[in-house]
Symmetry: C2
Subunit: 477 residues, 2 copies
């Protein structure tokens, strides 16, 4: 047990208590116990409340002291004025490793007494060897042991390799909802809302996710950090191993003032964040939807070798939209198709196809059947100066989307280069998009999203190349 890290007691508790557990469905202490039971948490759950004898079928304990044996984690779901006495009780009981404080009404209010109270609670905890998560936080989820300490409305929890850190419970919840609403639910590994960060902060969790075998991609909603150097150190270490995607708000001056009023974090100048993110290889995104798209790209596809993107479309308008967006990309540019490749495309595509106007852009037109899609995809994937492909189609009535997807799948699955797919006809394509994603091929609602994703993946590839060159020359020196 001595090898367990502090955060293991949060994400893998063998037993936990919910203080303030309740039979009243309108109270957090009811909802937390219910979420744990509904989700089927693997460890022991002890409701604690002197006024109840049973909560949702579990025996309820009057105090923490009455709970027998080990107790790794306590979830404190009592009103803010009562948190301090609960923490004292926890310290006296002993053996507790970790606490989550749900209630708001502490340092974030900027009221001096409440700021002070938060400090006192942490001091009491630390003297007893208890780490503190929160206050003002909804807690933790882990899909590997069915842990959910939150009061979030029920969402389907799909296992996956993306882990989330958030400074806003709502934004963290919305992230999971957007992930869930993809054609195939995009699963997650761990999820944590940090609240006021009186003790455990986003950086400690970031470092933990960096070492977590279940996590391959990290997504973060950030309002602000306090220690820039520590951020640079930890983020640089993690991004070497896995992508770290951050939505940092407070970009505009007025937005940064609103962020400061929320969790009390120092928002700081946005340009400083931009520079810091670039320096340590963080992938910065502008919206939650983009965070989810980019996480999907990283999770499902290999990094492209270089920046040359081929846009292969069956529909002119959406193809132009894709090229137009690519023209504003920071890293991606249109690929080059060889003379030989053009000849092959001409030989197999409908006569009205528009091949390489401009170079790297191929409109196979609405006359294209399944075999035209497949042949063209094979040809461009074989091109030496194509590093990735965005494949766009708006299947007409005579080309059922699922049939088209099935025809494309063998080529898509065998591809060594990343391919991003847009089947763009709403519900008419739902089944096809699901089929593609079940088979590991990411799909997007509009081509612009695919362009942003590939652009961010190229940015990461460039960063990793730079790092490995630097390390290579250091080793040779």
């Amino acid at each position: 047990m001595s090898s367990r890290k502090d955060l293991d007691y949060y994400f893998y508790p063998e037993s936990l208590a919910v203080i303030g557990a309740s039979t009243n469905p309108y109270k957090a202490g009811y909802q937390i116990v219910k979420n744990m039971l509904d989700y089927g948490f693997a460890g022991k759950v002890y409701p604690v409340n002197p006024k109840e004898t049973e909560v949702l079928g579990l025996p309820c304990y009057p105090t923490l002291n009455d709970i027998p044996g080990n107790l790794d984690l306590i979830v404190i779901a009592v009103p803010s004025p009562n948190v301090k006495s609960v923490m004292k009780e926890a310290a006296l009981r002993g053996g507790i490793k970790a606490a989550i404080v749900v209630a708001a009404g502490f340092a974030e209010t900027k009221v001096p007494e409440l700021v002070e109270q938060e400090k006192e609670i942490v001091a009491i905890a630390h003297q007893a060897g208890i780490r503190v998560f929160g206050p003002n936080c909804v807690g933790i989820q882990n899909t590997r042991n069915n842990l959910d300490t939150t009061i979030e409305p029920p969402v389907v929890k799909t296992q996956g390799d993306i882990s989330v850190i958030t400074q806003s419970g709502a934004m963290g919840g919305i992230t999971l909802l957007f992930m869930e609403e993809q054609p195939t639910p995009l699963g997650f590994a761990k999820w944590a809302h940090v609240g006021n960060m009186s003790d455990v902060d986003i950086l400690e969790i970031l470092e933990y996710y960096g070492e977590d075998q279940d996590t391959q991609v990290v997504g973060m909603y950030m309002e602000g950090i306090r220690d820039g150097q520590r951020f640079l150190d930890i983020a640089s270490k993690v991004t070497k191993e896995k992508p770290v995607i951050i939505l940092k708000v407070g970009r505009s001056e007025i937005g940064s003032r609103a962020a400061a009023s929320h969790t009390g974090a120092l928002a700081g100048s946005d340009k400083i964040y931009d520079a810091a993110f670039a320096k340590c290889g963080v992938t910065r995104v502008d919206h939650i939807e983009e965070l989810v798209d980019v996480a999907k790209g990283f999770s499902m596809q290999p990094l492209p070798y270089g920046n040359r993107v081929c846009i292969l479309t069956e529909a002119g308008g959406p193809g132009i939209v894709a090229v137009d967006q690519l023209g504003f990309a920071k890293n991606a540019q249109l690929a080059c198709i060889s003379a030989e490749g053009r000849e092959k495309l001409e030989a197999c595509l409908p006569s009205m196809a528009s091949i390489c106007h401009p170079d790297g852009y191929i409109d196979i037109t609405a006359a294209a059947m399944s075999e035209h899609h497949v042949d063209a995809l094979k040809i461009v994937l074989d091109e030496p100066e194509v590093d990735s492909v965005i494949l766009i189609t708006v299947p007409p009535t005579f080309l059922p989307p699922v049939e088209l997807a099935q025809s494309l799948l063998p080529t898509l699955r065998a591809a060594k280069k990343p391919v991003f797919v847009c089947f763009l006809a709403g519900k008419w394509c739902d089944e096809a998009n699901t089929l593609l994603e079940v088979n590991g091929i990411p799909t997007f609602k509009m081509p612009g999203q695919a362009v942003r994703v590939v652009d961010k993946m190229i940015e990461r590839k460039k960063y990793l190349d730079k790092i490995s060159q630097r390390e290579g020359s250091a080793a040779n020196a």
Copy 2:
């Protein structure tokens, strides 16, 4: 009949023929007849094909000449090499007012013979008094007489007051799909895909929509126009009466080259378009999703009186996202709440609510119940320096979204100022969002969308104010 405009024969034909009608489901000539029948077109439909005697239960005519009586519109769905002879036949028959040419393979190919052929077809048509739509186009839809000449996959057609003009069939189709996928389907009046614009062009349709009583909002996907002055004249006239929202692609240099290869339209420098749109009061958007959001805003809400937006949120993170976006808005800015208003808010909201940090931003917090939402909304709507409200909530488990929506509805419906609502908890809020939209209150998936919509509505208000001032001073001069 003499008072009918040329385009009336397209949108309100009393009779139409489909040349190339077919019993083969893989042919356009089958799909067009099927769409007309499935949708229940109010006029007469005549299939024409010498090789068929019946198509989908309708008697099929060998030639146009065999069709008795009036014939307003012909939809030419034969392969491109046969279009010219069909047009000759139509000219000889006489009495035909309008033609839609579906096939591609004309001027857009830039092959000199095919460019020439397109001109000849138009010349033949004009000599016989026939207008030409296309070629390379999927045609027209009108929800008022159940007309659908397209081969688009079947979509539910909801009647509404938004009309669409598109230079890409796919982008036009996707627009309808996004409209259909709103919490309450966003209906449309008319829809037209213009193709090569050999005769009827987007400007003639824009002018027609301007005078159309069923159209209150115009949405357009544009790749390029040829006659800048005519655009300015027509757009200025239409925007005085109704909003004209345009997604113009070819913003980047490479995107503009792709656009030129599509419909052969001159894309032109993007800055010129930007200036022209501003001059004639066009609302420019960047994405199809934004076009739909902005059309929804214009269609459902009155214009705000001024640029002062109050952001009222129950969740910190999404509230900050909204304020952050507002910081980058061109026209919108945060509202001012009076000292009296602040006192009223303090008196009725939970103690931890954050009121006016910064001014005009109110976080009622997750402790807020239905009555807190309603009271705060009433107070800010009554404020003299609030012109519009963005209301954000992530209903927790103990606050069922539909109940919250029902509590808010009387205030929302009575509001004289526009309110934009974000219920942000995925499927958990679907029913609430539908309820709000059925009652005419627009909802958005993320607060950033609401900010962009209100910003565009303020832009239009400013434009109209400027126009009326100019006209006022001209009248006084």
